[in-house]
Amino acid sequence: MIRKLHNKIKNNEIISDDLVKEAITNAEKSQKELNAFVTIIKDAKRIKSDNLLSGIPVAIKDNFSTKDILSTGSSNTLKDYIPYFDATAIKKLQESGAVIIGKTAMDELGMGGTGLIAATGPVKNPWNINKITGGSSSGSAAAVAAGIVPYALGTDTGDSIRIPAAHCGIVGYKPTYGLVSRFGVFAFASSLDTVGVLSTSVEDAAIVIDQIKGKDEYDMTSWNSENINLLNSLDGNVKNKKLFYIKEICDINNYEEKNDEVIKTLKEFNKTIKKCKELGIEIEEESFDQKLLDSIYPTYLTIASAEATSNMSNLTGIIFGPRGKGNTIDEMMKDHRTKGFSSLIKRRFVIGSYVLQKENQEKYLFASAKVRHLIVNKMNELFIKYDGLILPASSEPAPNINGIRSSHLRTEQYLAIANFGGYPSITIPSGFVNDMPIGVNITGKIKDDANILNIAYTIEEKLGYKNQTTKGWK
């Protein structure tokens, strides 16, 4: 899509200003039904360049600092916050000539996986506005799926790019940890947070990350990736590639709720596996200890909550954010935080605080970090034999907004494996169940992004959902 638009601009078949204007108009029109944007930038400007992204509109998740543009993280604690600097990824996008037309709604501060916990209200799925988008990169996913922008930036701490991509029938790519600088992104759980992209093709995802990746002196966890060119690595050759899937995740007998949607999603996954084999990819089954799989969610919850509690202690309403009422600083901060945070954020903070108490660290935090180590060791061993892990991105399509239950949030956390180990991981659309899109996810070893993207690119061609959008919203 991006290359096509670039060529059309270059050959004067379309004018960038018209493209940008159309995206802004569509964003505005979509708001009533999709509610994907926190801010729409009507006077979006750009620097002209020869870059593939030049003149093409993009939307940005609202947890990226954007100079002079409201950046709220979809939290009332930051409802008026206007950064005076750009995040590194934003700076690099702007240098390419990309045109930022809006900031997208998200689950507050990146926590939550539904798209229902944004200060500006629920984000709706363009395929069916009664369904959730998934989260936390909810608005970014909705905007891309509805065809408003060809791509959007997101962040992924547990599955926050890859689940909404699956629920909205698009591509969601979380690169290796540190491939893209986190400088200027609101920190949630620093050891898991990753900047990535939502797009309608693997090629587009490669183009975007090629542009924004690189070592950044402001992020010590970023690394030199000059030897990696993702776009040039997409050659469609998957000869001798080997993937595995985890038996327990793909076996219907292991699901408490064997409902129609789970059964169909797993059936579709088996069809995808068959098609991958037709491409010449070797696929084998590996078994995981069920206890270890059951530990993924509590491990994620413990680590992420602990890191979030610490990172977000700066949200006080004193040096930024709306000032709370009170006679003392403590009273002001308490008023600001009590009114500003949603119930989910409060819950996470209290859990984080509990596991960080000295007497609880060994039993909770360190035990979780040891489980993380065990899972990463097991994955690293498997990655000696295999190029990657292939899984259904979610065990069912997007649930109804009114049908969200807490158990749903607990069962869908297998993708956090990629955050535990910093692995590159990509979701691509793989079909439909009951008229809603589903996706397949591929995760590979660290810094092997080029290989994983090429495998996804090849599978994407075979499956036939490339450049898929709803062309509006239903």
């Binding site: 916050y81 206007i82 005076y84 940890y177 540190g178 050891s191 898991l192 010590m220 966890t221 690394w223 030199n224 206890k291 270890l292 059951d294 530990s295 969610y297 509590p298 491990t299 919850l301 004193i318 040096i319 930024f320 954010g321 709306p322 000032r323 003392t328 600083i329 403590d330 002001m332 308490k334 935080r337 009590t338 945070f341 119930s343 409060k346 819950r347 903070f349 209290v350 859990i351 605080s353 509990y354 596991v355 039993k363 909770y364 935090l365 360190f366 035990a367 979780s368 970090a369 040891k370 489980v371 993380r372 180590h373 065990l374 990463v376 060791n377 535990f420 180990g421 910093g422 660290i446």
Partner: protein, 100 residues
């Protein structure tokens, strides 16, 4: 035997974080903390973790180097730093008096 979380314990934890919580929120937090505690019991049965160290970052390959002493960066403008504060006075953020 699992630790039984009480409303008072949860309210105290929230208080330390300078967060006020409603009765409904207390109930939800007790439920989720109980889930976490029960899960930790399952985790403690995974024997292989006993020999492992906690993993606090995905991988240890960070390239860092010390800058040269003569390199420095311009500071931020004070106006920028204060631009998001609701109450300021000159070059400072205004808060209630905290010392006698």
């Amino acid at each position: 035997m699992n630790h039984k979380f009480t409303n008072e314990e949860v309210t105290n934890l929230a208080d330390k974080l300078l967060i006020g919580i409603s009765e409904e929120e207390v109930k939800d937090i007790v439920e989720e903390l109980t889930f976490v505690a029960n899960s930790m019991n399952v985790i403690s049965e995974i024997k292989e973790i006993n020999d492992l160290k906690p993993l606090t970052h995905p991988f240890d390959l960070y390239e860092t180097s010390l800058r040269e002493d003569d390199e420095y960066e311009e500071g931020h403008d004070i106006e920028d730093l204060l631009s998001n504060a609701d109450f300021t006075q000159g070059r400072e953020i205004e808060v209630p008096k905290v010392v006698g």
